[in-house]
Amino acid sequence: MRKVAVIGAGMTLFRRILQETGKELSFLATKMAMEDAGIEKKDLDMVIMGSAPDAFDGIHLKGENLLDGAAAANKPYVRVFNGGGTGVFAPIAGWWHVASGVADVALVVCEEKMGSCFPHPQTAFRHIWDPFLDRPLNTNLVWLFAMEMNRYMTVHNIKKEDIARVAVKNKRNAVGHPCAQLPDENITIDDVLNSEVVAWPVQRLDISPPSDGASALILCSEEKAKKYVEDPITIAGVGWNIDSTMWTNRDLYFPRYVANAAKMAYKMAGIDNPRKEIDFAEPYDPFDYKELQHMEGLLLCDKGEAPILTREGVTQRDGNLPICPSGGLLGVGNPIAATMGQKVCELYWQLAGKAGKRQIPTDPQIGVGQAWGDIMQMGTVIVMKR
C-alpha cells in the first residue's frame, strides 16, 4: 500500500440553518480545500462523498444530488455513510482510493443539512429504530443516549459534574474556531448542571446542536504530495468496526467496537502504546459523556479513567493529552458527516501548525480522530502523523 498525505482542507460555517443548498455548501468547502492545496478540479482523480441519512436533507439519493457541488461531475465518485461514523469513514474511504493506487489525488467532501427536517431533525432520527420493538414505544433518540450515559455513570460511579467539564472545555475551545456555532468562553460547570433536564441524566448543555455544514479534505499519494506541500501530513493508520445492532443485548458502557477500530488503526500506524505515543485526540463528542467513553475506547486511558483525567486538566489544550482542541461537536456544531471538519481536518491543521488560536502549544507529532454512529455501534478511527 502507498502512503497517503493530506494536502488541503476546508469547511463552511456551522449553523442551525444555513441558506445554502447542500450542493452550494459542498462547493464552498471544496473550493476552500482546493485553494489550500493549490489544485484545480482537473487535478482530482476521484471524489468521495460522506453524508449521513437522506432523511435529514430530505432528498433521496443525496449523494447524487450533491455531486456537482463536490467537483465530481464526470469523475469516478462514490458516497459512503454509516451514520455518525461517516465524518471519519469518508476520509478512510478516500485513503483506500489513494493507498491502493487507483487514485493519486482524491477529494473527500462531507455534507449535512439537518435544518430541512421539520418539526425537528429528531423526527428523522425516529426512523432508525427497529419498527417492531422500539418505535411502537414512541421513542426519542435522546432517550437512547440518556440510557447509555446513565449506565456509564453508574458502572464507574461518575459524578455528573465530571461529565459536564467536557462540555465546558469544548465550548471554550471552540472560541478560536471561525466556523463555531456554540462557542462560549464564559460557560461554567454550573451552567451545564443547571440547564434544562431533557432526559435524565442528559441536560440541554450536554448535547451538541443539530447543524447545517460541509467540510472537505484533499488526499494525495505521498510522492506526489511533495509537488504541492513541503512537509506533508500523512495518514498513518485507519480502522473501523461495528457491533451488533441488537443494542439491548450489549453492555452499553464500554464501546468495544471503537476499541477494535482503534487497535486496527494503531497496528497499521505501528503504535504499540497509544497513551505514550499519541499527542492529542479528536474523539467524537455529540454528547459530553461520549468524549469520555471514546477516550477509553481509543485506549488512551483505562475504563472509567477519562473523567479523572478531565478533572485534572490533562485534556485541556495546554494539558498533557489535549482532547478536542477544535472545540468538538459540543462547541463547533454537529452537522453529522461534516464533523470531519473537527475530527480530521483539525488533525491536519494542528499537525501542520496551522490551527491559529486553537494551536496546541506543544508541537504535536501524532494525532487520532474518531467518529461513532449508527445505533451506538460503529467506530471509525484515523491516525495522522507529521
Partner: protein, 159 residues
C-alpha cells in the same frame, strides 16, 4: 445456511404497518433565492454565465460545476421565460399510479439564451401532436399570488 424453523401458519402476523413521517422545508439556496425572488416581481427568468467556459446555467447557479469557479454578480442576467421543448411525455397516471381525468403533457423545456432547461406542464389542445422542438412560453401566476416556488409557473403554452 437455512433457518431451522419456518413460518408456515398463514394466520400468524407477518407484517407491521407504518410510515416514515417527517416534513421538509427546503430553502431555495443562495442562487435559488435570487431566482425565485426575481420571478415573484418579474415575468422573466434569471440565468448565470460561467466567466471561464461561458456556459449559461439555467436554473442559475452560484458556481460552474466544470470549471469549479464561483460565478460573480455581474454574470447574472435576465432571459425571457420562453423556450423550446426538448423532451416530452403524455402522462395518464399520477405519481400514486391513479388514472388522471385528462392526460397531462409534461415537457423538458430548453430555456432560450441558456444551456439549461426546466420541467413543466405543457397546455395544448391536441395532446397527440408532435411537440418536439415547439416553442413555448411560461404562463405565470398573477404577481400578487406568487410565493417564490416553482408553482409560480402555472404551465407552458404554445406561442
Amino acid at each position: 445456511m437455512t433457518f431451522l424453523e419456518k413460518q408456515t401458519d398463514p394466520t400468524s402476523p407477518m407484517h407491521w404497518r407504518g410510515n416514515m413521517q417527517a416534513d421538509y422545508l427546503y430553502l431555495s439556496g443562495v442562487a435559488g433565492d435570487k431566482f425565485f425572488k426575481h420571478l415573484m416581481k418579474n415575468d422573466t427568468f434569471l440565468a448565470t454565465k460561467c466567466p471561464e467556459c461561458n456556459k449559461v446555467f439555467f436554473p442559475p447557479r452560484l458556481y460552474c460545476e466544470d470549471c469549479f469557479c464561483e460565478i460573480p454578480e455581474e454574470k447574472w442576467f435576465e432571459v425571457p421565460s420562453k423556450g423550446s421543448i426538448k423532451l416530452f411525455t403524455i402522462a395518464t397516471i399520477d405519481s400514486y399510479g391513479k388514472k388522471l381525468k385528462e392526460p397531462k403533457v409534461i415537457g423538458l423545456i430548453n430555456i432560450d439564451q441558456t444551456d439549461g432547461s426546466l420541467l413543466g406542464v405543457i397546455k395544448t389542445d391536441k395532446p397527440d401532436e408532435e411537440l418536439q422542438g415547439v416553442h413555448v412560453e411560461a404562463v405565470l401566476k398573477p404577481k400578487d399570488k406568487r410565493e417564490g416556488t416553482l408553482k409560480d409557473i402555472l404551465y407552458f403554452k404554445k406561442k
